[in-house]
Point group: C2
Chain length 415, copies 2
């Protein structure tokens, strides 16, 4: 499948972009190729798509199910009992809804962690966006559950169909839901099979305190001891870090994922130490977290709120400039996922979006990046291309009505 | 002009809403009236529109002109020189763009403060939304400027055409741009003519410190001394308040306006003391502030960010629940502006919006208010009615293309 995008505005210059077999193959001012499809992008800006570094897409069916509660009652009385009711069908359609929302707001990749990941992966493949997902791993310190987990994990690793676009991770939930032995087992498997590990890390102060009293070390040090730092590790949240832990994350080339909206809404306390991580050149991604704690998947909103949070917290408007968070959100530091590109350039993966310049939020255009970060939201996205395929044009997506109806019907049945 | 809205979802019940001469005159399940116009609202939720408590709409033409800078260089090197270039035409079309954005995101009222308010008021009237605006008052402690200001203000008060929908305020800029004598003069005029006063108050710690060193009292105490507390006062920002000042605001029935996005982006330091103000039953509104410091006018976004900010700042997710900020944003406490209503009920002003339930962000619908505050953005708004007039239907607004073209052309000419 080849695709020609005509007359898009790329870095302020009107350009044609040629796409073939999932890659950008030419960018010039006038390309006159015969292609399977042509998009007239007159008056539209072309930018790299957004990449979601951390979510639990199946939970989209729980959007608005419970809010404004303290963490433990929220989990124990509301979220966990609701999750216990979720069928594979609910996870599939929840992830389809998540993918629909992500496409409509310009996101073409999601690093996911959820139960029954086979259903999530199928949903991502059916929606056309790229993903990373894998078996959700936790044992709650129960040796029987640990054996079951290992056996399921081994089966998944051997049997799942992975592709370049929909890749495998080991979704090691956290240090507070996995025994030390299981953490070691996961590290060993990850290293031997060369599979990235995705983990929640140092999201709350409580997690750190419990780790210290249980193991005598802080969470990142525990990850080092169990061998997990020695894998391709993606750590979500990473709020409560001391300087030594930040040095370890840098030394082991860990990718960290910032989830500003979820952290603020749940009130995890503390703030992702953006400046310190940046000084150490630690790779960062931006994540939405789930719709239970966000409650949408619009990465434009997360970009803005991240920038506001760090300016506010540091009492300094110069921190996290628009260009910085735009680069993070488009995946400039997401080299852990080779299926992604964050530039519109020849040789890059063709993951890009078109925004209509005739959107009030983008007028006037003193600074496009500022408009994208501080003024736009996902609704400014007109066209979405992922892996060279057109997933949305003129904001129309196939299956939209069916997805909404299925989610409504399943949600009414379960709750 | 009479209008019948058929089959809208009002508080989970399918209802017809009859509107006549700017008011809601009947709500029943089946109204069979002959009206000038009927809207089929099948599948749409009806809610009160949002009310913007503080903005400088003319500055919309400066969206993205300068960001990520410390306050004083931002103002001195960028914003003030840019404002000096703004023509009456730029202010008119900037305010038309602001009104367009507000309508498209469900806001039907703006309490404005800007130079050349006659142009802003004309723009609001031409756009169809309600507004409050008036002469922008500052003298920079220069007696000659003060005389000029008084003379212009007197002229405006005597000559401006005000209506119920587009009402007059005295836009007293702040205690740091107005001499004590001018503050007293404004208070006197406001009381004698019964005109509300709109002021910036205690936005930065610096403002408070300078007030104390200059006058020996804190800003709210200075307002009391000059008689301004004794007017119908609307105070924007009100971040740096002590308990005594909060008591005074309560005693004098001052309406305060919270501008969370602007405060975070500019990094004013401190946080609007929501809980203390709430405990004293002080009336609150929500504001966007200008597009130079926000950079959009989507009040859905401001609702969410307000709730996130207060949860984060207090480390408590129970603070500022969705229902609380929704009530504030729809104007439940905005009785200072009698042209507004915040309920869909018989006798209320017909200022309401319809949202399409087939929007991914509103699916599933466990809790509509949660979806509106935490998941929706302005693009979920389908239809906007202000004073009984349909300003937008199916997201289409008259003059949209002309407004965008005018703003682009003026912006290119000036900058």
């Amino acid at each position: 499948m080849s695709l020609l995008i005509k007359n898009a505005v790329l870095n302020d210059i009107k350009s044609d972009v040629l796409i073939s077999k999932g890659f950008i193959t030419n960018i010039e001012q006038n390309i006159d190729n015969s292609t399977d499809r042509t998009i007239n992008a007159e008056g539209k800006i072309i930018i790299p798509s957004l990449k979601n570094g951390h979510s639990h897409s199946g939970m989209t069916i729980l959007r608005g199910y419970a809010d404004d509660m303290k963490l433990m009652p929220w989990l124990q009385e509301k979220i966990w009992p609701a999750e216990a009711k979720l069928t594979p069908e609910a996870i599939y359609w929840g992830t389809r809804l998540a993918s629909l929302e992500m496409i409509k707001s310009g996101t073409t990749f999601c690093n996911d962690m959820y139960f029954n990941f086979e259903m999530s992966q199928k949903a991502y493949i059916d929606s056309g966006i790229k993903s990373a997902s894998g078996p959700a791993l936790f044992d709650f310190f129960d040796p029987i559950k640990a054996e079951e987990m290992k056996s399921n994990c081994n089966y998944a690793v051997e049997n799942i169909n992975v592709s370049q676009n929909n890749s495998l991770t080991l979704a090691a939930h956290s240090i507070y839901t996995l025994s030390k032995e299981s953490l070691q087992w996961i590290a060993h498997l990850a290293k031997s099979k060369n599979i990235p590990v995705h983990i929640h890390l140092s999201e709350t102060g409580n997690e750190v305190n419990e780790c210290i009293s249980k193991y005598g070390v802080r969470p990142v040090e525990l990850l080092k001891k169990t061998g997990l730092l020695d894998t391709h590790l993606i750590a979500a949240h990473t709020i409560w870090l001391d300087d030594h832990e930040i040095d370890l994350l840098a030394e082991y080339n860990v990718t960290v994922v910032h989830n500003p909206v979820s952290n603020m809404k749940i009130s995890t306390g503390g703030v992702f130490p953006y400046q310190k991580l940046k000084e150490k050149n630690i790779k960062m991604m931006l994540g939405t977290d789930s719709c239970a704690s966000n409650n949408n998947l619009d990465m434009f909103e997360d970009m803005k709120i991240a920038a506001l949070l760090h300016k506010f917290h540091n009492n300094d408007p110069e921190i996290m400039k628009a260009e910085e968070i735009f680069d993070i959100a488009t995946g400039t530091e997401a080299s852990i996922f080779p299926q992604l590109s964050s530039k519109i350039e020849v040789g890059a993966h063709a993951d890009c979006i078109l925004l209509d310049q005739n959107t009030p939020a983008l007028v006037p255009s003193h600074n496009i990046t500022s408009n994208l970060v501080y003024s736009a939201n996902g609704s400014c996205v007109d066209t979405v291309i992922c892996n060279g395929e057109v997933l949305m044009e003129n904001r129309k997506i196939k299956d939209e009505e069916e997805i909404l109806n299925q989610v409504r019907s399943i949600s009414n049945k379960l709750f």
